[in-house]
């Protein structure tokens, strides 16, 4: 299945803004961040299709995963 991954702030360094990753079915955001070499502690906010996500939820083909490091407020 194909997952759109959107990265923000410092997570973009060396990885880019937006990637399409191909995964076997029954995979989770955990596999996504491992594949991109993102340490778990750098994941402050994880959204799946714009809604609060968890690292171990099952992804569906076509999902968008947005990942933010610790960011600011305003």
């Amino acid at each position: 299945m194909s997952i759109k991954v959107r990265l923000f702030a410092t997570l973009r360094n060396g990885r880019g803004k937006e990637l399409i990753v191909d995964l076997e079915t029954n995979r989770t955001p955990n596999e996504v961040i491992n594949g991109l070499d993102i340490p778990t502690e750098d994941v402050a906010i994880l959204l799946v299709n714009g809604r609060d996500g968890t690292l171990d939820q099952l992804l569906q083909d076509g999902d968008t995963v947005s990942i933010f490091p610790p960011v600011g407020g305003g």
Binding site: F8, A44, G50, R51, P69, G72
Partner: protein, 611 residues
């Protein structure tokens, strides 16, 4: 006397006189200072029914006991008065260096009374006070005024001033200090303009006395460590400023666009914090003793200066449908020069754009400048015209509520208590919406920043769609925020620090023996006297609401699609947690518990009378 400077400067502009009074320390401790003590004094000295732009209103510039101390971010001051925008109590908070400098001059606050017959400015060099003529400054923008005053006053003096917007009594006028720091909201600049007071220049040479130096040193080093180790205050804010929120709020589908007609902006990336850092950032621009340094200094073409903040990028960006970040930086620059609140100015242009789109504002009112969503050049031009009250800009200077009302359709104004809402669509963030509706100064995000738990996950992640527990969270955030404001620190410290940390700092600096609960209680006391002032000013609880669009029309697209704000389900629990009656009026019981009995407001009567 520790923490506090111990003196109050009272200036009467009509008589061109001033006197120094002793600070009432017991009262100060009860309300901590800043927002708390300032509001207490306002309630005692000014009738809540006063016309905000009349000489009878007073303007209080007040620091907290931690302002000017070695505590992190201890440079802040607040402006307390009755707001010409909302009719509520106004308390606008600003950073930079001016607040600390006032403290070094030996004063905790300046209370400005009445009105000068011609433009004047106030010059303070320790205990040397002068009321000087300001004819040569009237009409000048903020940077020019500041440069002139830096030359004609004491070396390294700090300058606070209004721009043309304040002189022309715009209800959106800010008070600026240190060039680009703003006591921005609620039209406090118009109150200053109404008094013919152009500026206050301060130079001080005194140190703030501390209760226990060593203890404070230790507490400060602990707190600074927490700030540096926290992801938001140690990494996110220093690297990107507040603008990093653009993408995160947009990804959540709660980024108000085209005057809240939708909550997703397809060009968010172009106005994001990441783009700002890549294309326009010159350097960081921190306030006094701030280890966080969220402030930005940016340049585009021949324009450079402080900012823009996230809220500003939103107001002139997505809320106006504009994706040109350079234009946003220019609009921000003109707000700082004119002395306009960026949130309300941008949001008012957004409302005007919708009024134009819907056919209420007609072509012949525009005088050659476009008013369609997405017009980047237009937001710059309308900002200038708003500041100068030129043409349709004269109507815009009144704020979006009065503007939309002039066309008979106030529902197009996205305001609470006539103040423009900031950059988060509450339909997809339920606790934050409750906070908007109940804020004592109307539409505002910094009376209780529920974005922190509901979006950023600090101190823990809450589901932004649900109602459970939100009323209690909102109340605690509101109370803690009031106490932080009162102490003279920046609210951003609270991403890393809790009530106990503030208690520790106050105890070491002032010599109090506050517990964490005492700090929250002081915050609740402040919240209640603000509420009582508002009630007596005629702002009844029916105004604890949101624009009907946000209560009745679902977000049309994106991750928060279909949602409305469920305020009526949250308000009863909130009132009950506050110890207020079902109508939203503080009860005598709770007021007694908070020791609000000696208030000049005759609080018991308010509570009893409205029941």
């Amino acid at each position: 006397m520790y923490g506090y400077a111990g003196k109050v400067l009272r200036v009467n502009l009509k008589e061109r006189s001033w006197k120094v009074e002793a600070l009432d320390v017991e009262k100060a401790k009860k309300y901590i200072g800043g927002r708390g003590l300032g509001t207490k004094i306002l309630t005692e000295e000014v009738s809540p029914e006063v016309e905000p732009l009349s000489p009878e209103n007073k303007l209080i510039f007040i620091t907290g006991p931690l302002s000017g101390t070695p505590t992190p971010t201890g440079g802040r001051y607040m402006v307390v008065t009755k707001s010409p925008l909302t009719g509520t109590v106004a308390c606008s908070n600003s950073g930079g260096y001016w607040g600390a400098e006032l403290k070094f001059s030996g004063f905790d606050m300046v209370i400005v009374e009445d009105k000068a017959d011609v433009p004047v400015y106030l010059n303070i060099v320790d205990d040397q006070i002068e009321i000087r003529d300001a004819a040569h400054l009237w009409g000048k923008v903020v940077s020019e005024t500041t440069q002139i005053l830096e030359k004609e006053c004491a070396e390294k003096a700090k300058v606070l001033t209004i721009g043309p917007a304040g002189e022309k009594l715009s209800r959106l006028a800010s008070i600026m200090n240190d060039y680009s720091r703003a006591a921005g909201r609620s039209g406090v600049g118009a109150v200053m303009g109404s008094k013919n007071l152009k500026a206050i220049v301060v130079k001080g040479s005194q140190k703030v006395q501390l209760f226990n130096h060593d203890q404070l040193k230790e507490v400060v080093s602990n707190c600074t460590k927490k700030i540096r180790e926290n992801g938001v205050t140690g990494q996110g804010l220093p690297a990107y400023g507040t603008a990093v929120l653009v993408n995160i709020i947009n990804e959540n589908g709660v980024f108000p666009t085209n005057n809240f007609q939708t909550a997703v902006f397809d060009k968010a990336e172009e106005i994001s914090g990441e783009t700002l850092a890549e294309k326009y950032l010159v350097k960081k621009d921190p306030c006094y003793r701030c280890p966080i340094a969220c402030g930005r200094y940016c340049k585009v073409d021949d324009i450079e200066g402080g900012g823009p903040e996230y809220e500003t990028i939103w107001a002139f960006g997505s809320d106006c449908g504009v994706s040109d970040l350079g234009a946003v930086i220019k609009a921000n620059y003109w707000c700082n020069e004119m002395g306009l609140d960026t949130i309300s100015a941008g949001a008012t242009i957004a409302a005007a754009m919708e009024l134009y789109e819907k056919g209420y504002i007609k072509e012949d009112e525009l005088n050659g400048v476009g008013l369609e969503f997405g017009n980047a050049e237009a937001v710059i031009e309308w900002t200038k015209r708003m500041g100068l009250r030129d043409g349709l800009g004269d109507k815009l200077a009144e704020g979006s509520y009065r503007l939309a009302e002039m066309y008979g359709v106030p529902e197009y104004s996205m305001t609470v208590k006539k103040q423009e809402l900031p950059a988060y669509d509450p339909r997809g963030i339920q606790g934050h919406g409750l906070q908007y509706a109940t804020s004592n100064r109307g539409g505002c995000h910094v009376r209780g920043y529920m974005i922190s738990p509901e979006i950023l996950g600090l101190p823990e992640k809450l589901d932004r769609f649900t109602l459970e527990g939100k009323a209690l969270w909102a109340k605690i955030f509101q109370d803690l925020t009031a106490a932080i404001d009162a102490s003279g620190l920046c609210l951003f410290t609270s991403f890393a620090m809790g009530a106990q940390d503030y208690a520790d700092m106050l105890n070491a600096a002032v010599g109090t023996d506050f517990t964490a609960q005492d700090v929250l209680d002081a915050g609740e006391r402040i919240w209640n006297i603000e509420k009582l002032f508002n009630l007596q000013a005629g702002i009844d609880p029916s105004q604890d609401t949101l624009p009907s669009r946000l209560l009745n029309e679902g977000i049309p697209e994106g991750p928060s699609q279909g949602l409305v704000h469920r305020l009526s389900e949250l308000l009863p629990e909130y009132y009950s947690l506050r110890g207020w009656d079902t109508q939203g009026i503080p009860t005598v019981d709770r007021l007694n518990k908070l020791q609000i009995s000696e208030s000049a407001l005759t609080t018991e009567e308010v509570a009893a009378g409205d029941k």
